[in-house]
């Protein structure tokens, strides 16, 4: 809760700063504030003491709304880091709407509070608040370029689908409450599954379905490509990294704590994982729009992350999921920074915009190449280790077929990731070299270095949760 208060406060500071004409200070202050909070969270994790500042957080503070466990803290740290990247890129991205900058930054910060609430809840009502804050912020961001028809369409589509999913989630929560008489996850977890009425299972399934919408797993993915393509690119970056991982992490936490003991529940998740990987990858092969392609590739990555549900040991599985999410989002941020740079004032994100980038801007081309290689799962980039840890875990459970399918999907993935790489290095560029905004290259460089860094020292990330 202390983290939530700090970040929500930061959001309010943004809005106030706009009133007092301190627009220039907004982004630096926000990024500095986020890094400070990140440092605070890291201190909490490494000292193993959530009460490091003596805020009276021992036991079950705030009526057991928020858990101070490593799972929530570690994911919160990742989200704060991602938001810092996204906020850093906003002034450049919104340079034509300077007056709205404070709104965009504040909405992103509120989105972050939602994401944090989603991974560190102990109470289902807190979870629902989190998911709604996150979703509503995203609806706004998706439709945030009001004169663009596609952005309007994206916002509307996302809103309708998202509201529908939220409704299902809320119904699920109601059923779970009806069955258990409690919103508290710890209490629910301790109840005897055999004595719970049947609608506990139904409620869990509804929660699952609702979250599958948010993750954009097949067959609940239909909104994703259109929304990804239509939204402003920075929003797409937010959705495909921060929002996706937040939904994934909260789904993992929810499903493993509710632990419904339903026959076929895990099998269903496996089928959804396989479908997401395969359908996402195969459809991505045909895309010519980079945002859309990354959208489909995000669907397949959600499929990989769903493999984490096959586990022997919960702690390891959490660590592996976290590592995969970390690797994927950093590669995503780096890739989107380059996409923003290249397509910033082109009005579209077709692959041909990247032609000849290897000649005109070798650094950015190299970064995008590294990001794509990481997503494709080529070693030394952390994407490879993410996949490796997941495969290892799934094999530990004896699910060889799943691993083989995932491997075949990795091969398909190479097909479209490399199309972009080939375009950058072999095609001739169509227009002259354009200057690179400093923030984009800075964000891209830092993100990709972190990605390679955690590839060289995977322990650094794994130990946060295990």
């Amino acid at each position: 809760m202390d983290i939530l208060i700090a970040i929500a406060g930061l959001g309010i500071i943004c809005l106030v700063a706009e009133i007092f004409n301190l627009r220039k200070a907004i982004v630096p202050v926000t990024v500095a504030g986020l890094l400070a909070v990140l440092f605070y969270v890291a201190a909490k994790i490494f000292s193993n003491n959530p009460n490091i500042l003596g805020l009276g957080l021992d036991g079950a503070p705030y009526n057991s709304m928020i858990a101070n466990d490593n799972y929530g803290l570690a994911f919160s740290a990742l989200f704060i880091l991602l938001t810092a990247f996204l906020v850093a890129m906003s002034p450049e991205f919104h340079k034509e709407h300077k007056a709205k900058l404070s709104d965009f930054v504040a909405v992103k910060l509120f989105l972050l509070t939602g994401a944090i609430a989603m991974v560190s809840f102990t109470n289902l009502s807190m979870f629902f608040l989190g998911i709604e804050i996150l979703s509503i912020s995203l609806y706004i961001l998706a439709a945030s370029s009001p004169k663009d028809l596609k952005s309007n369409e994206a916002g509307m589509k996302y809103f309708l689908m998202g509201a529908f999913a939220s409704g299902i989630i809320l119904f699920g929560i109601a059923l779970v409450y009806g069955a258990t008489g409690s919103f508290n996850m710890t209490a629910i977890n301790e109840m005897n599954r055999l004595t719970l009425p049947a609608w506990f299972g139904i409620g869990t399934i509804m929660l699952t379905i609702g979250l599958m919408f948010k993750i954009a797993a097949v067959p609940f993915h239909f909104w994703a490509p259109d929304v990804y393509e239509g939204s402003p690119a920075l929003t797409t970056a937010t959705m495909s990294t921060l929002a996706k991982v937040a939904a994934m992490a909260s789904f993992f936490k929810l499903a493993t704590t509710l632990n419904p003991h339903l026959q076929g529940y895990l099998t269903t998740i496996n089928v959804i994982a396989v479908l997401s990987m395969t359908v996402g990858n195969i459809l991505a092969l045909r895309q010519t729009n980079v945002k859309r392609m990354l959208g489909f590739s995000g669907i397949s990555h959600a499929g990989y992350m769903l493999l984490a549900f096959q586990f022997q040991d919960l702690g390891t599985a959490q660590g592996n999921l976290y590592y995969y999410a970390f690797a994927y989002t950093l590669a995503g941020i780096a890739a989107f920074a380059v996409v923003l740079m290249v397509c910033g004032n082109k009005g579209n994100e077709e692959v041909y915009n990247f032609n000849g980038l290897g000649k005109t801007n070798p650094l950015m081309a190299a970064i995008l190449t590294c990001a794509l290689l990481s997503m494709a799962g080529i070693p030394i980039f952390s994407g490879f280790f993410g996949k490796l840890f997941l495969f290892n875990q799934v094999l530990d459970k004896g699910r060889m077929v799943l691993v083989i399918i995932a491997v075949i999907n990795s091969i398909i993935g190479v097909g479209y990731y490399f199309r972009l790489i080939i375009a950058m290095f072999t095609k001739e560029n169509t227009d002259e070299r354009q200057p690179v905004p400093f923030v984009y290259s800075a964000v891209a460089v830092v993100a990709i270095l972190l990605n390679i860094g955690i590839g060289l020292y995977p322990e650094l990330i794994l130990q946060l949760i295990r």
Binding site: P379, I380, I411, F418
Partner: protein, 481 residues
Amino acid sequence: MDVSFILIILLFGAGATYFVGDKWASKAALIFSAAAFAATAYIISLYNAGDNVSFMHLWINNPRVLLAFQADGLSLSMTMLTIALTPIIVFTSFGNLFPKTRSFYALILFMAFAMVGTFLAVDGLLYYVFWELSLIPIYFIALIWGNGDAQERKKAVIKFFIYTFAGSLFMLVAFVYLYQKTHSFLNIHLYSTFLSKKEQMWLFLAFFLAYAIKIPIIPFHTWQANVYQKAPAVGTMLLSGIMLKMALYSVIRWQLPIAPLAAAEYKYIFIGLCVAGVIYGSVLALKQNNIKKLLAYSSLAHVGLIAAGTYTLTIDGLRGAVLQMIAHGFVVVGLFFAAEVIERRFGTQEISEMGGIRTQSPKFTSMFMILVLASVALPGTFNFVGEFELLYSLAQANIWLAVIGGTTIILGAFYMLRMFQYVMLGETNTKVFADVTFNEGLAFVIILAVLLFLGIYPKPVVDFITPELEKTLVFINRFNK
């Protein structure tokens, strides 16, 4: 000083080459690869003196991955092959002008780094990381600096990448499966796990897929000829001279000792496939008019024989394979360099457009002749030693396999000498063939000196590699006494 030092020199060299800029990149690459050569030579002398030059350090705790680089006769000889060929390959490129020179040379050194890592690593996952890493530089070298139509080149190179990547992913699954069994990736632990026959068969096949694509063994060879033709000469040399040997070496280091039962059970199937590749490569080489493609198919035939030798599971087969890997590495680099020398002057790869070089450059002709003769394993060249042992090992398996495999020498002699005739002899062409430059000549002389010296006196290499191969053979034959 241990073997990790070689890797550090190469990696640092790759970075330094990139940062010294286009003008000095080629020289920096030569200096660093030569420094790596000196370091390797020194480390080998330490190893011979009985020092422990292996390197081991914990990398990831869970899953347990070690930074384990082991120095033994097998890995050091392959490292030496890589490190000796790298400066030669860099040196041969001095006659060409490349755009983006610094990236080019940095990639070559990075590739050498990855390949040396593959040869030295004895931790399965570390080995896999290096194995995959080596794919990235060669992909870019062939893609960006290759020749021919860009569209076709792209297709050929991406096919190569996807093929090899697909194959190696199954190897990764095999490693992860083995990790589940042993909770270690270290080769010694993997050798000594108990695996049922069925498990061994699947593991063997998973490894086979990775290696068969890279070696290549038919029917997984379809990427090869096109990539060899499209890649720049340096890329072709790296691919055929060293990268193929990664897979052949891995057969000895990983595939056979891990799944010995399957190796013994299906021995004849795999030898048969490899020998079929020998015939297939030779026959196709007969029909080629493009000199690089001809050399690619002849290379397919030769490595097919090497692979067949390893699958015989005899000491002669393994030793012959290692000797022939070294010999083939030098010869094939020399031959592709000769093709490059001709292309620099005539601007073509088509054999029918060449000819009449002998009268213009007797020096080049005699050097090329020796290379051709070495390639067809004439006694007195290093290739003869390896090829002889390989055929002997095939004869131990089945005399008819040796007879069929032996046709590679006859067919090889036929197409290589015919190629020599068309390229070198004949009427003086209207095209002018300038005599080889000093640099070009020096590269040839070094290669020929190695081949001839070891051809006459192969004992140091044989003595160096035999103990480790015998040790490996104990693991391979541990079930069939």
